[in-house]
Symmetry: C7
Subunit: 92 residues, 7 copies
Amino acid sequence: MAKVNIKPLADRVLIEPMAAETKTASGLYIPDTAKEKPQKGKVVAVGPGTKDDLVTVKIGDTVLYGKYAGTELKLEGTDFLMMRESDILAII
Amino acid sequence: MAKVNIKPLADRVLIEPMAAETKTASGLYIPDTAKEKPQKGKVVAVGPGTKDDLVTVKIGDTVLYGKYAGTELKLEGTDFLMMRESDILAII
Amino acid sequence: MAKVNIKPLADRVLIEPMAAETKTASGLYIPDTAKEKPQKGKVVAVGPGTKDDLVTVKIGDTVLYGKYAGTELKLEGTDFLMMRESDILAII
Amino acid sequence: MAKVNIKPLADRVLIEPMAAETKTASGLYIPDTAKEKPQKGKVVAVGPGTKDDLVTVKIGDTVLYGKYAGTELKLEGTDFLMMRESDILAII
Amino acid sequence: MAKVNIKPLADRVLIEPMAAETKTASGLYIPDTAKEKPQKGKVVAVGPGTKDDLVTVKIGDTVLYGKYAGTELKLEGTDFLMMRESDILAII
Amino acid sequence: MAKVNIKPLADRVLIEPMAAETKTASGLYIPDTAKEKPQKGKVVAVGPGTKDDLVTVKIGDTVLYGKYAGTELKLEGTDFLMMRESDILAII
Amino acid sequence: MAKVNIKPLADRVLIEPMAAETKTASGLYIPDTAKEKPQKGKVVAVGPGTKDDLVTVKIGDTVLYGKYAGTELKLEGTDFLMMRESDILAII
C-alpha cells in the first residue's frame, strides 16, 4: 500500500485502486485490452468527516466503489482516487 | 443463496438476482431471448443504515426491485446488485 | 380483488388497476383501440409508511392516480402498479 | 357546480374549470378557435392537507390557476383538474 | 392604480406593470418597437404569506422585478403579473 | 458613487459596476474591444437579509463578483447589478 | 506566496495555483503544451465561514482541488482561484 502525506477534507477518502483481475472466474487469462476498469481499492487516507457525513471506513480497508466514482489524483507518481464516503459501496 | 464476505455501507443492500421465469403464466415455455431482466432477488448482505435511512430488510428476504435499480457487482464469479434500501419496492 | 402475499416497503402502495370503461358517458360503446389507459384501481397492499411519509389509504380503497404513476409489477399472472402514496390523487 | 364523491389526498384540490369567456373586454364576440384555455374554476373537493402543506381554499371558492396546472380527470362525464394548493394562484 | 377583488394565496403578490419609458435618459424619444418590456410595477394585492415565506411588500408599493418573473393574468380587461415575493428585486 | 433611492428585498445587494481597467498589469493600454466585462463594483444598497441569508456587506464596500452574477437594472440612466449576497465573492 | 488585501465572503477560499510540474515522474522533461492544468495551490485568504459551512483550511496551507473548481480572478496582475472550501479535496 502506497504511503501518502495527505489530509482529505470533510468526508473524503483517498483510495489506491487495485489492479484489475487478469484471470476470469473460469481460469482463463484475459488480454490487457479486455480488462475492466478496477472497482476495488485500498483506503490510504480518510477525512475527519462532518456533522452530517461521518466517515466509517479506516485506513487499510479494502473497499468496492462504482465505476465512475471519485476524482483521479496523481501523487508522487501513483494514481489515486479521491471520493466521498457515500460513493463507497462496501468493505470487503 | 450465495455466501459473500462483504459489509455494505450506509443503507445499502446486496441482492442476488433470481433467475427469470422460463414459463409464462399460461404454462408456455419462453425462449431465452424473450426473458425479462429479473426483478426479484435474495438479500445477501445489508448495511448498518444511517440516522435518516434505516434498513428494514433482512438477510434471506426475497425482494422486488425496479428494472434498473442498483449497481452490478461481480464477486467470486457471481453477479450481484448493490442498491439502497429505498430502491427496493417490497418483500415477498 | 386479487390476493397477494407482499409487504411494500416505506410509503409504497400496491394497486390493482381497474379495467377501463368500455362505454362513453353518452352510452356509446368504444372499441378496444380507443380505450384510455386506466387511472382507477383498488389498493391491495400498503407499506408501513415512514416518519415523513405516512400512508393514509387502506386495503380495499378505490383510488385515482396519474396516467404514468408507479412501476408495473406482474405477480402470479396479474398486473399491478406499485407507487408511493404521494402519487395517489384521491380516494373515490 | 358539479357534485362529486371524492376525497383528494394530502394538499390536493379538485377544481371544475369554468367556461372561457366568449366576449372580449371591449364587448366583441370571439370565435371558438380563439378562446384561451380557461384559468378560472370552482373548488369542488379539498384534501386534508399535510403538516407542511396546509389547505386554505374552501369548497365553492372561485380560484385562478396557471395554464398548465394540475392533472385532468374525468369523473361521471365531467372534466376536472386535480392540483396541489400551491398551484392555485388566488381566490377571486 | 387598478382596483381588483382578488386574494393571492401564500406569498404571492399581484402587480400591475407600469408602462415602459418612451424617452431615453438623454431625452430622445424611442419608437414603440424599441421599448423594453417593463420591469417596474405597482403592487395591487398581496397574499397572507407562509411560515417560511413572509410577504413584506405592501399594496401601493412600486417594485422592480426581473424581465421574466411571474405569470400573466388578465382581470377585467387589465393585464397583471402574479409572482412570489421572492421574485421581486426591490421597492423603489 | 451613484445615489439611488431603492430598498432591495431579502438578501439582495445593489452594485454599481466599476469601469474595467484600460491598462494591463505590464502598463500597456488595451483597446476597447479587448476589455473584459467588469467584475468589481461598489455596493450602493443592501436588503435587510433573511433568517437564513444574512447580509454582511455594507454600502460603500468594493466587492468582487462572478462574470455572470446578478440581474442588470437601469435606474436614472445608470446601469446597476442586483444580486444575492451569496453571489458576491469577496470584499476588497 | 502572493500577498493580497481581500476578504472572501462566507466559506470561500482564495487560492494561488502552483505551477504545473515540468518533469514527469520518470524524470523526463515535458514541453509546455503537454502540461496539465495545475490542481495544487496555496491558500492566500479565507472567509469567515457560515453556520453550515465551516472553513477549516488556513492561510499558507497547500491544497489539492479538482480540475474545474472555482472562479478565476486576476488581482494585481496575479491569477487566483476563488472556491468554496467544499471544492477543496485535501491538504498536503
